[in-house]
Amino acid sequence: MTEHAHHAHAPAPLGGKLITPVTLCLGALTLAAAVVGVIRFIFGLGAVTNLNDGYPFGLWIVYDVVIGSAFACGGYTMALLVYIFNKGEYHPLVRPALLASVFGYTLAAVSVIFDLGRYWNAWHIFWPGYSNVNSVLFEVATCISLYIMVMWIEFSPAFLDKIAVGFLKKIVPDIKRIVAKLMFLFIALGVLLPSMHQSSLGSMLIIFGNQLHPLWQSGFMLPLEFLLTAVLLGFAVVVFEATLVSMGFKRPRETDLLARLAKFMWGLLLVYLVLRIGELVLRGALPHAFQATLEAFWFWVEMLCFIVPLIMLAKPASRNNAGKLFGAAVLLMLGGFMLRINGFLVGYETGDGWHYFPSLSEFIVTVGLIAFEVLAYIILVKLLPVLPALKPASR
């Protein structure tokens, strides 16, 4: 990444106090999640979750893993844009996006352990002879694990200098050289791997078959829908995160950069909506959306979260309006969120009588994980060279 130093400003640590009211609040939320985590690991899933035989997975899998990894697609989307489509001007957005991604994914992997009843057998999935290579979950698990490693390597230029103490002082320059030489490989993998597992998360819904409501059971279109929304979410998250960072850290906004980014986002959103609605019409599932059911209600919530941003960002002028851009990004994130919640929980009916609504403890863990993610982001951008350095009169 450093070879792009010709562009804009090299990243630099922000510095500043680490203990602030915000970080303290986030720390408290993280601590609450840790307490529930301890209870879960001592007394089991039944003690803290509302999971049952009808709904063997719940909020932790659907939010923390499926949605969490989709929200963490900023790094993927930016790498796709900068390195594959060779749009170098977006480079300042890559490293912050990557930081959010590497955390999003690592925490998604951690929350899988929370949700596995017999987590001590988790290594079986990678072990030859135990692993079921025909399973979609196998693909997701190996792909996500690999991607997390790839992302830490991609992100390593940001922290390698920091850890160069003691005996590491000697080897860090060598590591940096090797990493820099092979970076093209890791970047390629960093684009390939999410394309694989983000679509596989959709493939998992194919397996649900008739248990999934017709509004979401799009069969072999599901992988594409999940992949497209993952890329969309990547764009949206980059906008969301860049806006919050510039506000939170009192930095100038990168509105023009984001506005151009929004153009891609808008085009992709149009493609997605055409595909999604076209598929519903062709399959004859659209009438389900006009029935007075809970599923239809949540379907419309989901669709409006996609349609409203399409209208909001249609004009170039509105894309340059930071408020509208931010609003559209939030709505898109909510849309991707609802698509996954609807597919995995709302539209998923496993038989008469089975209900699932997350327990308070499940919410505490999820909120705590998000808090931890934000906390780590704040601390790391202050300590590590992630955000572009500011020059006077930068615009």
Binding site: G16, K17, T20, P21, V22, T23, N50, L51, N52, D53, G54, Y55, T243, L244, S246, M247, G248, F249, K250, R251, P252, R253, T255, N320, N321, A322, G323, K324, L325, F326, G327, V330, G353, W354, H355, Y356, F357, P358, S359, L360, E362, F363, V367, I378, R395
Partner: protein, 387 residues
């Protein structure tokens, strides 16, 4: 050994002889051999060794003594419904002396015993059925003027193997129940050395046959536990192989005969079933070759522990058993699975989170939009997230 056991041509001839001798088809004969081998838990292919041993014309001489008993063990052996079992019983072994099956009587019978003992000295198998009274010098059981104690000692002296069949011969059984007026004792106690015991009241005939056939096939008696019981039949608790075990584990018990639980086949533990402290293969071997359910617990009666010294004929039938090496699970599995619901706190928490997020995002967007309209894109917004 296994390679040389089965010589096809020789086997053809041998089978012809066996078919003629036992008057059964070759198929039936092999079925019997396989059944016996399976009872002993021998590996596949062992039925060939069994078949070879049985087809030999030279059958071991068996002397069968009866003392304090009901002849139930002999009855059980004879009443087995396997089509030609009784033929096999009488033809696999050469039953040279058996008081209740003998045609001979009186001195004639005693003479037959003596001549058999003489002819097969050191090679015959002695089977003892019934307990041996030892009080008052054993006067409570006499045959041909001799006490049971003397008879068993005399016959055991030159026997190749001694097998105690039934609970009475094994450990005193029913005749030894307190106050034990005749001093009923087991064969091992009278002989002063351990013998193979086939306890049960009556025992499964296959456990006895398999023991004898083991002796024929391998020239020695099968491996036994500390009470002399062949391990192939008496190494597992009845409780561990019981078809009602799942009800025990789930806490579903019959409380009275004829109650709902009893009619639905629930566990009989609370009716006094001694399965949890009795070692025997009854649940897997069953009785009478009549198919599933043909054993006491299968028919709805608690096990009385007849194969276990100190349990059968000692503990009251309806006294609950002592649990041996089985500890009930701390928590029983739920019979009704919870199907989930929504807690008010969780719903309220979600509403609060959603409301805060929506409000925050809307305010943020509004502020940003205002600044954009004011034409101050670079001005940082004042926001609660600022540090």
């Amino acid at each position: 050994m296994s390679e040389t056991i089965f010589d096809l041509q020789r086997e053809e001839d041998a089978f012809a002889v066996v078919e003629q001798r036992l008057q059964i088809s070759r198929r039936e004969f092999m079925q019997f051999c396989a059944a016996v081998a399976a009872t002993m838990g021998l590996p596949a292919g062992a039925e060939a060794a069994v078949a070879k041993a049985i087809e030999q014309a030279q059958r071991p001489s068996v002397i069968w003594l009866h003392f304090q008993e009901c002849t139930g063990c002999s009855e059980s052996l004879l009443r087995a419904e396997h089509p030609t079992l009784e033929k096999l019983i009488l033809d696999v072994i050469s039953l040279d002396y058996h008081e209740t099956l003998f045609v001979a009587a009186g001195h004639q019978a005693e003479a037959a015993r003596k001549s058999a003992m003489q002819a097969h000295k050191g090679k015959y198998v002695l089977v003892v059925e019934g307990a041996i009274p030892v009080k008052e010098n054993g006067i409570y059981c006499k045959i041909g003027g001799k006490t049971a104690v003397d008879l068993v000692k005399e016959c055991a002296a030159d026997a190749a193997a001694v097998i105690a069949i039934g609970s009475c011969a094994s450990w005193g059984g029913m005749p030894s129940t307190g106050p034990n007026p005749t001093g009923a004792s087991s064969v091992a106690e009278v002989l002063g050395k351990p013998v193979v015991t086939i306890p049960g009241c009556p025992p499964s005939p296959y456990n006895f046959l398999a023991t004898v056939v083991h002796f024929l096939t391998f020239g020695k008696l099968p491996e036994v536990d500390q009470l002399g019981r062949p391990k192939f039949a008496y190494s597992r608790l009845i409780h561990d192989n019981c078809e009602r075990r799942a009800h025990f584990d789930a806490g579903r018990f019959a409380i009275e005969f004829g109650d709902t639980g009893h009619r639905q086949g629930y566990c009989l533990y609370k009716l006094g079933c001694k399965g949890p402290e009795t070692f025997a293969n009854c649940p897997t071997q069953l009785f009478g070759d009549a198919g599933p359910g043909t054993w006491p617990v299968g028919c709805g009666h608690p096990c009385i522990g007849c194969t276990e010294k100190g349990v059968g004929f000692a503990k009251p039938i309806h006294q609950t058993a002592v649990l041996k090496n089985v500890v009930p699970p701390l928590s029983y599995p739920r019979i009704v699975e919870e199907q989930g619901g929504t807690s008010f706190a969780a719903a309220a928490a979600l509403a609060a989170i959603a409301g805060a997020a929506a409000g925050g995002a809307a305010m943020l967007a509004k502020n940003l939009g205002k600044q954009a309209e004011d034409g101050k894109p670079g001005t940082p917004a004042t926001n609660q997230k600022a540090d």
